[in-house]
């Protein structure tokens, strides 16, 4: 079982769209996939039309036993299940803080699903907390969507610094450009510059496209309702390179 997390400290960068679309593409590839929506905003869960149960006890959930397994819901698509978001997840940090090896607990939790799934995709909350650190340490690969603007690049570098400070290997991190507007000079230049300077960037660029924005209306993954759109094709490319990295 592999763990892939999609993360950015900054919100609104296309993180959840990537998490949902990559999960869908992985499941279509035959991988038994679990999408964990750890972002308390719950956008992934919303896209898949899934609500969490009422009785959420994060401490019980983290034990990974029967209670945790019962929270999982099957999506409308074969091989794709979801651990829905819950407002109670905002307390994860407090909870983790009280525990021993507090920065490594999440992997143990995720490992309790290893019999049922080939791939777990984590939609991580947009902040740097103990939970995010747990997610980094639990992941085989961390994907960072980056909008090609100065501010976004700055955020990316902040993340890089954090990894260095906490001694988390950055070689498990890949970034890709998201919400790209080719007609903007700034976008083109930023992409060119970063791809030359930083080999953590994948060559794939997800365009800024209304078909992606419409995910909120369709409440479906893009490839499920617009398989032939250019955006859907770039998500497929992204999945191909991600799955190759995960296989190596």
């Amino acid at each position: 079982m592999k763990v892939l997390s999609i993360y950015n400290i900054k919100g609104g960068v296309g993180k959840t769209a990537s998490a949902v679309n990559l999960s869908y593409l992985a499941s279509q590839d035959g991988l038994r996939t679990l999408l964990c929506d750890f972002d308390p905003q719950g956008a992934s869960s919303y896209y898949l039309r899934i609500k969490s149960g009422n009785k959420m006890k994060p401490a019980k959930l983290l034990k990974g036993g029967n209670f945790a397994h019962k929270q999982i819901k099957e999506s409308d698509y074969p091989n794709l299940d979801l651990l829905p978001a819950h407002l109670a997840y905002r307390n994860f940090d407090l909870l983790l803080d009280k525990q021993k090896r507090s920065n490594r607990r999440l992997r143990e939790f995720l490992d309790s699903f290893s019999e049922d799934y080939d791939l777990i995709i984590v939609d991580a909350p947009p902040n740097i907390t103990l939970l995010s650190e747990n997610i980094f340490r639990a992941s085989d690969l961390i994907l960072i969507p980056v909008i090609p603007t100065t501010l976004s690049i700055l955020t990316y570098q902040q993340i890089r610094k954090f990894f260095k400070k906490e001694k988390i290997a950055f070689n498990r991190v890949r970034a890709f450009f998201s919400m790209v507007e080719k007609r903007k000079k700034l976008h083109r230049e930023t992409i060119e510059q970063m791809q030359a300077e930083d080999d953590h960037f994948l060559p794939v660029q997800i365009p800024m496209a209304s078909v992606v924005e419409r995910m909120g209306l369709h409440r479906e993954p893009v490839p499920a309702y617009a398989a032939s759109s250019p955006a859907s094709k770039t998500y497929s490319e992204l999945w191909k390179s991600v799955s190759k990295i995960l296989d190596d």
């Binding site: 898949l48 039309r49 899934i50 609500k51 019962k70 929270q71 999982i72 819901k73 099957e74 409308d76 074969p78 299940d81 409440r219």
Partner: protein, 534 residues
């Protein structure tokens, strides 16, 4: 996703009406109907079915192992490279191949039935338009070689989604109110297909399944025993000739050996002249298949032998196996010709009519009318006595030939027990067989290793020095021979320990109870001697 309930319907229209009714109470959304074509497979001796699976080839979905009780897909794999994969190694590498390897071993899979499954799938939605249940209206039909497809069943199936299991109960209540009830014992559609073509699981097994009555005459019992082995031969004939896998020939040979054993061990039930004639005939059938089986045994050991050699010696071994394959092809041609010729056929025909003939004279057959229980008891007791005599005399210095003789006696004993096991309590026989099997395993391994060594040495001496690959070939075989010697030495050290397994009190007590106290076991022998002294 999990199939929860199957409702068998009288016809397709009933299903359609049912869904129309359901639509009024449940938001339903239909998916594009699909038509799947499946071919199901199993080995000749139903190995997959025994483990609870059907192997199904379903259009572009590839191969699936589905549970025979729930139809749940346990494992699946993409299409194999070969159009019609037969052996586990023909399937794509991975979990699926591994599972098949464990279950099938050397057996090939054969197509059982071809079906078409037309599925209309409906999604039951909640207020978020999220699927909470799936309903399948299923029509299964059997593809027939001639004529139209035969309809096998119409059904409505409920499939639950993880996390939404409670919806099943809601729907079942609705169906209950409509007067529709699930099938009490849902049957897999492949089972329905098998029934339609008249195939029954376990219609073949290599195991002996003979039911005897203790008071029936020994001749009658002998006939039943022979008839069983003859059936095994007949059932394997086709697969053996088509060379589907090595087990057809193997099972055929075992049946021949059992026949020969029964002919020579169960004395005085048929006229001796007839017995001699058929002993000769079956000995011929054994010889006919010897060479093929020998080659098969080696070819099956290929991977094991490769594992015994360091990497640099493996190419030499491959040459050896290429030679064997070539020989095998030649032998197979000869064998088919021989089976197709008159002698084989006339032997089988004569044996069949001998077994059918109820007027075989009784004169000069002193045991023919004896109750079979007496005959069985005497034969088994005698064989045990012989085995104890031989076995206890064996030590580390005993020549290999003696172990070989002991093995043959063991085999005879095992056949006798298999023939007559229905006459004795199953539990006791199972206990004896378990102990004997361990010992037989040791003896069998020793013999196998001995024969392998002999053959390899023979092959080694026949390698022509002119062959340009003579050196790597000889080096590989040489190393293999010495590896086999080491293995043999290690197996031999287990002999006495395993033999003591049939020398304990419990074993002796069971023997005495069923086969008489006539010194069957060394333990009883000693105690009766003591009693005599007293």
């Amino acid at each position: 996703m999990k199939l929860q309930e199957t409702y068998i319907l009288p016809d397709h229209t009933v299903g359609k009406n049912l869904l129309a009714e359901l639509k009024r109470v449940y938001p339903l959304k239909s998916l594009t109907p699909v038509s799947q074509r499946q071919t199901s497979f199993d080995s000749f001796d139903w190995r997959l079915y025994q483990k609870g699976y059907f192997l199904i080839d379903q259009d572009e979905d590839g191969f699936q192992l589905r549970k025979t009780n729930t139809d749940e897909c346990w494992l699946h794999t993409v299409k194999a490279e070969k159009d019609t994969p037969q052996f586990w190694w023909d399937f794509p590498k991975g979990k699926f191949q591994k599972a098949l390897k464990d279950i099938l071993d050397v057996r090939a899979v054969l197509p059982l039935a071809e079906t078409i499954r037309d599925l209309e799938t409906y999604r039951c939605l909640n207020s978020d338009s999220k699927t909470v249940l799936r309903l399948h209206l299923e029509d299964v039909s059997l593809v027939q070689a001639e004529g139209e497809n035969k309809s096998l069943r119409h059904a409505l199936q409920i499939e639950s989604l993880r996390g939404y299991e409670s919806e099943v109960d809601r729907l079942k209540e609705i169906l209950d109110r409509m007067g529709v009830f699930p099938e009490s014992r849902p049957r897999h559609f492949v089972m329905a297909a098998l029934e339609a073509i008249g195939k029954r699981p376990f219609d073949y097994s290599s195991k002996i399944d003979i039911k005897l009555n203790p008071l029936m005459s020994s001749r009658e019992a002998a006939r039943i025993i022979h008839r069983h082995s003859f059936d095994v031969m007949c059932k394997n004939e086709e697969g053996m000739l088509a060379d589907i896998d090595s087990e057809f020939l193997h099972d055929f040979r075992v049946a021949v050996r059992r026949t020969r054993s029964a002919l020579s061990l169960v004395k005085g039930v048929f006229p001796q002249a007839q017995v001699d004639r058929f002993k000769n005939d079956f000995s011929y059938l054994g010889r006919l298949t010897n060479k093929m089986r020998d080659l098969d045994v080696y070819l099956l050991k290929r991977e094991r032998y490769r594992g015994m050699l360091p990497g640099n010696l493996r190419p030499g071994l491959d040459l050896f196996f290429e030679d064997l394959s070539t020989q095998r092809t030649e032998e197979y041609k000869k064998f088919v010709k021989n089976v197709r010729n008159g002698k084989y056929k006339s032997i089988m025909k004569a044996w069949n009519s001998f077994l059918e003939n109820n007027n075989v004279p009784i004169a000069d057959c002193p045991n023919a009318e004896l109750p079979v229980i007496n005959t069985a008891q005497e034969l088994i007791a005698k064989r045990f006595r012989k085995i104890y005599r031989e076995g206890l005399a064996i030590n580390d210095l005993t020549p290999e030939e003696r172990l070989h003789e002991l093995r043959i006696d063991f085999k005879k004993l095992r056949y006798l027990i298999e023939f007559f096991r229905s006459l004795y309590p199953a539990k006791d026989i199972a206990f004896i067989v378990k102990k004997l099997r361990r010992l037989q395993g040791v003896l069998g391994d020793l013999n196998d290793l001995f024969v392998q060594q002999e053959t390899l040495n023979q092959y080694l001496s026949e390698i022509s020095p002119q062959r340009k690959d003579a050196i790597p070939l000889a080096a590989s075989i040489g190393v293999l021979v010495s590896a086999l010697q080491r293995e043999k030495d290690s197996v031999r050290t287990h002999f006495s320990e395993t033999f003591s397994g049939i020398c304990d009190k419990k074993f002796a007590a069971i023997l005495e109870l069923h086969f008489g106290g006539k010194a069957t076991s060394p333990l009883t022998a000693r105690s009766s001697k003591k009693r005599a002294i007293k």
